[in-house]
């Protein structure tokens, strides 16, 4: 049976997370269909059809799917699930929101945020905030899961030539409706997809110092800005910048942690980064145990110098 990948998009373009998810799907089987559910999302479907390894694109284009409301999307996916052995999507807030509903509608258990594929029924996933990795075998006839995208290299976005088929399946629960959306405006790359992240911790001492010391370095590197929970709790920066178990999970090429001690909850959110740099005046700080490069220095002197030299 074929594999269904649910596409992550904003009705305009396909999100890269979908390409990572297709890469994971390829380890489970060959016949990969991508479902694009949205409103005015033809361009997204055309884009998905070009992705490497995709054999068919299904486009469900209706106002009911405009804002990716979990109830409607779940009914749609469950309705077409009969044809598929595996149903997966990226472990983004959208994927996490609707996919468990799909599993419950199909009366099957589900696997969240898989980080590895052992075989088509067996998967690896982090548990306990990444402090352990579980290998889980499922005997469900239908495998429903979300994929930790940072664990899979994306497939090529060009080269494929799948057909696009239109679905006229309209599903509405009538129990939930969209009210409004308020997206954070930032010229910097998004935290979870940035290739470089510069994060500050409690040692920054206040919000102004984030602006004065962390942001110039981030801007010079084209990096996203992150923070530890201590910095968020102290009110230096908003909560959506928090990296960690209860915040965002990142795995950039370069993660620079300035003034962050490295509590386990923080490490859970960033220790899969390719290269970790820690700038800290305490060589005993736990962050030193995961850092590839540890600079023992006062960050108020080291950060401006680093900014001027990169």
């Amino acid at each position: 049976m074929a594999i269904l990948v649910y596409a992550e998009h904003d009705n305009v373009s396909l999100k890269k997370a979908t390409l990572n998810t297709i890469a994971a799907a390829k380890q489970m089987g060959d016949d990969i269909h991508v479902l694009v559910a949205g409103s005015g999302a033809q361009a997204v479907a055309d884009e998905a059809a070009k992705a490497e390894g995709v054999t068919k694109v299904l486009l469900a284009d209706n106002a009911a799917y405009d804002h990716q409301m979990a109830g409607n999307i779940a009914l749609l996916v469950a309705d077409i699930a009969g044809d598929y052995s595996h149903i997966l999507t990226a472990a983004t807030t959208t994927g996490k929101n609707f996919m468990p509903r799909v599993a419950a509608l199909l009366d099957v258990s589900m696997l969240s945020e898989i980080s590895g594929v052992v075989d088509a029924q067996t998967f690896e996933r982090p548990i306990y905030a990444g402090n352990a990795t579980a290998t889980v075998k499922t005997s469900e006839a239908k495998v429903v899961l979300t994929v930790r995208t940072t664990a899979f290299d994306p497939v090529a976005s060009e080269g494929g030539s799948a057909t696009v088929e239109t679905l006229d399946n309209v599903q509405e629960t009538g129990k939930a409706s969209f009210v409004s959306e308020e997206m954070a405006k930032s010229d910097r790359p998004e935290l979870t997809s940035a290739s470089i992240v510069v994060s500050g911790g409690r040692a920054l001492a206040n919000g102004e110092n984030f602006t004065k010391y962390i942001e110039p370095l981030a801007d010079k590197l084209g990096a996203a800005v992150g923070a530890s929970r201590a910095a968020v709790d102290a009110g230096y920066v908003p909560n959506d910048m928090q990296v960690g178990q209860t915040g965002k999970i990142v795995a950039p090429d370069l993660y620079i942690a300035a003034g962050i001690s490295g509590a386990i909850q923080h490490l859970a959110g960033m220790k899969d980064s390719k290269v970790i740099v820690a700038i800290n005046n305490d060589p005993e700080a736990p962050i030193a145990s995961v850092a590839d490069y540890f600079l023992e220095a006062d960050l108020f002197a080291a950060l401006p110098e680093l900014t001027s030299k990169v």
Partner: protein, 249 residues
């Protein structure tokens, strides 16, 4: 209006977990256990809704080992009115837990069902969504703000890149994110009073739910160690290493 809050007994979030030597799981013997931090936020939100006069009664439910009654008592000390403990020796998986919660919610006729967005042990982030699907009702996951208005509730949700507000018909399921509120501490007199609050003990069989899951944990291993890093002596050396050795800038 009645609220149902689900709480899970998990390893305290400050404890550094150890994987068992036989790779069968994580060693939980002699470890400090607590209410899952997101569930504590759910309890707090229910208590605030009660204080605001929106909710009259808060029922707190937990499914798990008998010791989970400690977590129910803790929630009662924070302001919940009564507890339901569903004792299960089997590891509780989200689908089975959702089925039991559905049964409780429908029997009690609860209008607002609050859960944490995820438990910090299995990191699943599934139960609330599954419950909403089984009940055929709306869900407001990763909530950072909850406003009940008449027969509906407006939930502001933390999504990638910003916030989204949805309106849900009641009854509805809400799962809490970190920003929703700051849970209070239980005061000693309330801890004493909580011991006298009613706590029903049930089994999954009472709800006709079979706890066996079609998922089997083959092994649990510690995450791969990172190779030891080096200490650099200056910013110049750091820049040089990043440029020429790691090649990341």
């Amino acid at each position: 209006m009645k609220a149902l809050v689900a709480v899970k007994r998990v390893i305290d979030y400050n404890v550094k977990v150890r994987v068992k030597a036989d790779n069968s799981g994580v060693d939980l013997s002699n470890t400090k256990m607590s209410i899952n931090p997101f569930d504590e936020i759910a309890v707090e939100e229910a208590v605030r809704l009660k204080e605001a006069g929106v909710i009259d009664e808060i029922i707190v439910a937990s499914i798990g080992p008998k010791e989970s009654q400690e977590q129910i008592r803790a929630a009662l000390a924070l302001g919940a009115d009564r507890g339901v403990l569903v004792v299960s020796d089997e590891k509780p998986y989200p689908l089975q837990v959702a089925k039991i919660l559905k049964s409780i919610a429908e029997t009690e006729g609860t209008d607002i069902i609050l859960l944490g967005k995820q438990a910090i042990d299995d990191d699943n982030n599934q139960t609330g969504q599954m419950l909403a699907a089984l009940m055929g009702i709306g869900q407001g996951t990763f909530a950072s703000e909850v406003k009940v208005e008449g027969d509906k509730v407006n939930v502001t949700r933390e999504i990638d890149g910003g916030l989204q507000t949805v309106a849900l018909a009641l009854p509805a399921v809400i799962t809490t994110d970190l920003r929703l509120n700051e849970p209070r501490y239980a005061k000693l007199p309330n801890i004493m009073k909580a011991k006298k609050k009613p706590l029903d003990e049930k089994t999954p069989a009472d709800f006709g739910v079979d706890m066996t899951s079609k998922q089997e944990i083959i092994k649990v291993v510690p995450p791969a160690d990172r190779k030891a890093g080096i200490t650099v002596g200056s910013v110049d050396e750091l820049v040089d290493k990043l440029r020429n050795e790691a090649k990341v800038i």
